[in-house]
Structure formats: structure tokens, C-alpha cells
């Protein structure tokens, strides 16, 4: 009898200790207010949806998200939030970061805190070099700009290009990536047009007119995701650039899924290079998009921001399973390097050398369906693209 009681007590004690080890706390650092709120919501929904769709993969552990507002791209609020998530909430893993300056400002805190930090958007290429605990599940600007440069010269047969870019670091990154690949493949960039800062949507007419006057084969445009895209497409249509034989191309930021339907017929024929759009034809993506529409409404759509959060959570769940719920920063990084998955964006893994993402890049064209809705058709796939900025050792990446 006594033995039984002892055994039962021991069993209880063990299960109690297991229960306490089962919860993994993830600190989320996203701009839930201000101009970034739209992006934060997409990433947030991506994370939540992964947990909901893959509840069986998470078991027997549970993941608790502790959300903090990064407020703005100034850096200091995001940094204090990171600090408090580490010291007050004792989180096991950090995640989030929409704005690059915030990820840059948080880097010393992440390094000192020795916890894995999953970057789910911030795209400035060299960020992952700034802390040994950073892993990225979104993209770097080079992931789209470099393959686009090659594709423009080889597949679209362009000899000359004009680049218009929003004048802030992602824009300059994109310009450098495109130019390097395009000129390396025999093309020539004949004009580079800075088109104002990222803060407000400018009147694109003078910039586009200048591009039109140069008569290039392709006009490569980079603008930040959000409200710029609709204005770009409208100006392109209004100036008759298509009729003049100039193709509008760019990274997928200009055809962000959440903005695509609002662009109208002027968007038809746009050619972009990106790692994800909601119309990708694979089983995982169909399941993901259907679940998204069921969860958040038929008129909503996931986009490349949402997939950053979704795949980021997939990575976190992988790490939690590998480490059996006991998360240590260094072991978590080691586990992250072994991550491979079949994501809605296609095959997806973490480069063990750079802790950055390896994924396909898709060359897509906007087409109009019979129901009048716009969608994107994949023209070709560049498989397993590593961040070219680091692969080619372009400063400040290399």
C-alpha cells in the first residue's frame, strides 16, 4: 500500500514537472500600432494560424505568445520591449520585427540575452550578421532583386533597364542586387531614379516620365509594401508605358496580394519575382490559403508578410520538438540550422552558415481570370536561392 502511494506521488510529481516544462514562451515584437499595424496583423495571423492548423505537431508542448508593441521604426521602443520580454517575462524564444532599424537596434540585447530570435520580416540583408542568435524566415531584398536581374536579361530578353526605387536602404539593396545580376547577364542599367522616401506615397508621374523618355526594355520598380503599389500601377497605365513597349517589373512588393485586387486592369501583365504569393500552385499553399479565408474572412488573403510569420512559427515548433521543450539559445540555434520544411512557399530551409533562409524565387505574371479577379501565374522557378548578398560577399554582408 505504502509503495503504491509513493509511486502515485512520484508519478504526480513527474507529471507536474512535465506540465511546467511543456509551456514555451515566445516573445513577439511587432508594431501593432501606427503605419506598421497592417503588417503586424498579417504576421500575427500567420503565426496564430500555424498553431491552429498544426496543433498535433505542437503536442505535447504548448506555445504561449507574449505580444509587445514595437510602436515605430525608431528602434528604442522595440529595444525596450525586447529587453523586458527577456528580463521580465523570461521568454524562451523571441520573434517578430517588421522594421529593419528595430531589428538592428535590438541586436545587442538579443546577443546579451542569449535567446533565439526569429526575424519574420525585416529585410535588410546584413541583419543576420549582427547577432549570432538571429534567424530569418522572411527574405532579404537580394532574394528577389538578384534573380529578377538574371531573369530580366535571360528570360525576358531585355537589353536595357531603368530602375526606380524608393530612396531608403531596402530600395538601395534592391537596386544593387538587380543591377549586379542584370549587368552580369549582359544587360545595361541606363538610369537609376530615386523616388522619394518611404514615409509617404509620392506622385510618381515625373519619375515614370523620365523612365519612359529613356525608352528601356524593362522598368524595374521597387517600392515598400503597402499603399505605394496601387499608385505605381496607375501611373504606369496612365502614362501609356505599356503601349510604348516598356515592361514593368519588380519584386513582389509591387503586387502584394492584399493590394492586388484594388489595382484593376492596369496591373495585368506585371512581371514580378518573389518567394511567395497567394496563388502559388502547391498543396500546402492551397491548404494554407483556404484555412486563412475560413479563419479571417473570404475577402482576406495571406501574402508574403503572413508567410513570414507562418513559417517562423513552423521553425519555432520544430525547435521546441527537437529540444523537447527545454529551450536553450545555443542549442536552439543548432536545431534551427537543421530545419527543412515543405512550406506554402515551396521547399524551405535555413542556411547553416548564415542563419538566413534558403527558398525558391518565382517569376510570376499578373493575369485576369474569367471571374474578373486578378491572380498571379508562375512563369518560372529559380530553386533554392541563398541570400546572394552573403553568397557574393557584397559589403556590408560579406
Amino acid at each position: 500500500m505504502m509503495k503504491r502511494i509513493l509511486a502515485a506521488t512520484a508519478a504526480l510529481a513527474i507529471s507536474a514537472s512535465l506540465a511546467s516544462a511543456q509551456e514555451v514562451k515566445v516573445g513577439v515584437n511587432l508594431p501593432y500600432t501606427g503605419i506598421g499595424a497592417e503588417f503586424a496583423q498579417l504576421i500575427d495571423r500567420g503565426m496564430e494560424l500555424y498553431l491552429k492548423l498544426n496543433a498535433d505537431k505542437v503536442k505535447p508542448y504548448s506555445i504561449k505568445l507574449i505580444k509587445r508593441d514595437a510602436k515605430n521604426p525608431a528602434g528604442n521602443d522595440s529595444r525596450v520591449a525586447t529587453q523586458e520580454l527577456l528580463t521580465q517575462d523570461n521568454v524562451d524564444i523571441l520573434a517578430g520585427w517588421v522594421y529593419s532599424p528595430n531589428a538592428i537596434a535590438s541586436a545587442p540585447v538579443v546577443t546579451a540575452g542569449k535567446k533565439l530570435a526569429v526575424i519574420m520580416n525585416a529585410g535588410t540583408a546584413h541583419i543576420t550578421n549582427m547577432s549570432p542568435y538571429y534567424v530569418r524566415t522572411s527574405f532579404s531584398m537580394w532574394h528577389s532583386g538578384y534573380p529578377m536581374g538574371e531573369a530580366a536579361a535571360k528570360q525576358l530578353g531585355a537589353k536595357t533597364a531603368v530602375v526606380g526605387y524608393t530612396d531608403f536602404p531596402p530600395g538601395k539593396d534592391e537596386l544593387a542586387a538587380f543591377k549586379r545580376a542584370f549587368e552580369g547577364s549582359g544587360g545595361k542599367v541606363i538610369d537609376e531614379i530615386p523616388m522619394g522616401g518611404a514615409g509617404a506615397v509620392p506622385d510618381f508621374t515625373p519619375f515614370f516620365q523620365r523612365a519612359k523618355d529613356k525608352k528601356p526594355d524593362v522598368f524595374f520598380v521597387f517600392i515598400p509594401a503597402g499603399d505605394h503599389a496601387a499608385a505605381v500601377v496607375k501611373t504606369y497605365g496612365a502614362l501609356g508605358m505599356r503601349e510604348a513597349g516598356i515592361k514593368l517589373i519588380g519584386p513582389g512588393d509591387i503586387t502584394q496580394d492584399t493590394k492586388l485586387q484594388a489595382m484593376g486592369d492596369a496591373a495585368v501583365g506585371l512581371i514580378t519575382m518573389h518567394h511567395y504569393h497567394a496563388d502559388l500552385d502547391n498543396a500546402e499553399n492551397k491548404r494554407f490559403v483556404a484555412a486563412w479565408k475560413k479563419e479571417y474572412g473570404a475577402n482576406t488573403t495571406p501574402d508574403f508578410m503572413a508567410i513570414g510569420g507562418y513559417d517562423g512559427m513552423a521553425l519555432i515548433v520544430h525547435i521546441v520538438q527537437q529540444l523537447k521543450g527545454k529551450i536553450d539559445g545555443d542549442k536552439a540555434i543548432a536545431a534551427a540550422k537543421t530545419f527543412k520544411s515543405n512550406s506554402p512557399r515551396g521547399p524551405f530551409s535555413i542556411d547553416p552558415e548564415t542563419r538566413d533562409i534558403v527558398m525558391n524565387a518565382y517569376l510570376s505574371e499578373v493575369v485576369k481570370g474569367k471571374d474578373g479577379k486578378l491572380s498571379q501565374k508562375v512563369l518560372s522557378t529559380t530553386p533554392n536561392v541563398k541570400d546572394p548578398c552573403k553568397a557574393l560577399k557584397v559589403p556590408p554582408c560579406g
Binding site: 525608431a74 532599424p101 531608403f168 536602404p169
Partner: protein, 339 residues
């Protein structure tokens, strides 16, 4: 028995005692020290808060005392921050305290140069011109990418230990907090002495009635320029210390957001009052910080509600509200304070 002189008049005595230390004046400093010991995990936030107090005090000197309406005070904050940041980043100079002096000097030089031109104007024109000065500096910092890091900002600012002993720990910023508190105390004592000096009184005179100050022969414009320069230097110290505490600088230090926030804080606390900066910064930052923690998506609602309430019902800010209440509670003991 000597005959009563003019110095025995109650008004004269009140005036001669204005600058004396009041019993509650050490209180904010005791509270700040208590915060250090009681909330070691909140020191990152505490450091931000103290820097904001220092920045608001610098603005109070220009706006509250001299009546210089400016919406571009972040220009000097950013000048100080970038000076300290660039010196450290490019490996030229990174000793913390002397760096602050250099940052203050650069900010003061910009304040002097712009003040000489801008302070010929008043009112809305002045407001727009201060805003433009700040926007010009911000764009210069954006364009000078190789020196300033542009939009992504400057990182890798390594600050050696303070006095060779105390490390700047990014995770538990104890050193940063005490360092900022010390700098704030010194700057505050300086400002307090300044505003009770004849120079400070002449500033108040200019704010209240510029024509009359001209009429009594006060060098109005010189006084304003000197005040603006001192205020710029203090803002430069706040910016420099921000760069050191955070170990980075970016364009936000020169942004309209920062300039507007500090103005709101000062109006909220009560401008032209020495402790308005303290009360305003604590109210604004504590509220936004803790509300944002509990409601990450909806905290701005609560903050906006506070601001609307203060704007509608307490024109003198929180301190002004307190003064009105005190005056109502004991109407016979004290005459009403000048509004």
C-alpha cells in the same frame, strides 16, 4: 527700531525667496533612486524616461521661459546623438563624458547659427522655420549614408566603461540609468540656477511683454539667441546620452515624432514650470508604456483620452491643475498664483 524698508514688503520678500529650496524638491530624486532599487527589470524604460525628462527641460527653457515657439527641437537632440555616435562609430573618440561635451558643443553651434537667423521671426513663421531646420538635418543624415548610416542608422557604437569601471550592459542597463540620472541632476541644477538668475527673469519678461523689454533697454534678441543656444546644448546632451545608452543612432533622433512628443510632454506637465518636464514625462511615458504592455493594439486610445482631457480641462498642464486645486483649498492663506 529701524524704519521698515522696501525689502520688508511681503511681495519683495516673496521675490527674494523664490529661488530657495522647497521641502519637496528632493522628492523626485529620491523617487528616481528608489525606482533603481525597486524595479531593476524596468531600468531600460527608466533610462528612456530620464532622457525624455532632460530633453523636455531643455525645451522648457526655450519654450516655457523664453517663449520661443519651436517644433524642431529634435534637431539638437539628433545633432548631439549623431555627434556622439559618429565619433564612437568611426573610432575617433568614445570616452562617455567628454563625448557628451562635444555633442553639446556641436548642438550649441547649430543652435547659435540657426538661432541668429530664425529668432528674427516669431509665431507661426518661427514654428515652420524650426521645423524646416530639423527636416534639413534629417535629410542630410539620410543622404550622408557613409557617415551616418542613413535610414538603418549607426550601429557598433562601443562605449568604454564609465570611469573605466562601470560597464554599459545592454540587458540590465543599471550603469546607463545612474549615468543618465547624474547628468540630469547636473543639468537640472544648472537650469534651475539659470531661470532664477536676472538672465532668467529677463527671459520671462521677454515672453510676457517683448515690447516693454525693448523699451527698458534689454538686449532682447541677444538674450533669446543665448537662451536658444543653451537650450540646444542641453538637448544635445540628452541626444548624446541617448546614443550612448542605446549604443546606436538612427534617423528617429531627428524626426518630427520626437519633436512633437517632447512638446506634448511639456504641455501635459505644464510649461514654464521647472517640474513640468518631470510630471509630463512620467505621466505620458508611463501611461503609454504600461498601457501598450497590456493592450498592444489599442493603447493609444487611453493615451489620447488623457491628452484630450488635459487639453480641455487643464490648460496649465498637470502641475497647473495641481496649483489651481491648492489655491482653491486654501484661498485665504495665499494669493492666487499668477496664471
Amino acid at each position: 527700531m529701524s524704519a521698515p524698508t522696501v525689502f520688508d514688503h511681503p511681495a519683495a520678500r516673496a521675490l527674494s525667496r523664490r529661488h530657495r529650496l522647497r521641502w519637496w524638491e528632493p522628492l523626485p530624486w529620491i523617487l528616481a533612486l528608489a525606482f533603481y532599487f525597486m524595479f531593476p527589470r524596468y531600468l531600460g524604460f527608466g533610462t528612456e524616461l530620464l532622457i525624455m525628462v532632460l530633453f523636455a527641460i531643455s525645451l522648457d527653457l526655450a519654450l516655457g521661459y523664453a517663449g520661443i515657439v519651436t517644433l524642431g527641437h529634435a534637431a539638437f537632440f539628433g545633432a548631439g546623438a549623431y555627434t556622439v555616435g559618429m565619433l564612437a562609430h568611426h573610432g575617433i573618440w568614445n570616452e562617455p563624458i567628454s563625448s557628451l561635451f562635444i555633442g553639446a558643443a556641436v548642438a550649441a553651434a547649430i543652435g547659435l547659427a540657426s538661432g541668429l537667423v530664425l529668432l528674427r521671426t516669431t509665431g507661426l513663421t518661427l514654428l515652420m522655420l524650426t521645423l524646416c531646420t530639423m527636416a534639413l538635418l534629417e535629410e542630410a543624415a539620410n543622404l550622408g549614408h557613409d557617415w551616418t548610416g542613413g535610414f538603418d542608422g549607426l550601429t557598433g557604437i562601443s562605449i568604454p566603461p564609465l570611469f573605466g569601471l562601470f560597464e554599459f550592459n545592454p540587458l540590465f542597463p543599471k550603469t546607463q540609468y545612474l549615468y543618465v540620472l547624474g547628468a540630469l541632476l547636473i543639468c537640472f541644477v544648472f537650469v534651475r540656477t539659470l531661470v532664477y538668475s536676472p538672465f532668467g527673469h529677463s527671459l520671462t519678461g521677454i515672453r510676457e511683454n517683448t515690447l516693454r523689454m525693448h523699451a527698458v533697454g534689454a538686449p532682447v534678441r541677444t538674450r533669446l539667441v543665448v537662451c536658444y543656444t543653451i537650450s540646444a546644448a542641453l538637448a544635445g546632451i540628452a541626444g548624446g546620452i541617448w546614443a550612448q545608452a542605446n549604443a546606436y543612432v538612427n534617423l528617429s533622433t531627428l524626426g518630427l515624432d520626437r519633436a512633437a512628443t517632447v512638446l506634448i510632454i511639456l504641455v501635459l506637465g505644464g510649461y514654464g514650470r521647472l517640474y513640468g518636464a518631470f510630471v509630463g514625462a512620467v505621466a505620458y511615458m508611463a501611461l503609454s508604456h504600461f498601457l501598450a504592455k497590456v493592450y498592444p493594439t489599442a493603447w493609444q486610445l487611453g493615451l489620447g483620452f488623457l491628452l484630450v482631457t488635459i487639453a480641455l480641462f487643464a490648460r496649465g498642464g498637470i502641475i497647473g491643475l495641481g496649483e489651481t486645486l491648492m489655491a482653491r483649498l486654501r484661498p485665504k492663506l495665499k494669493p492666487k498664483p499668477p496664471s
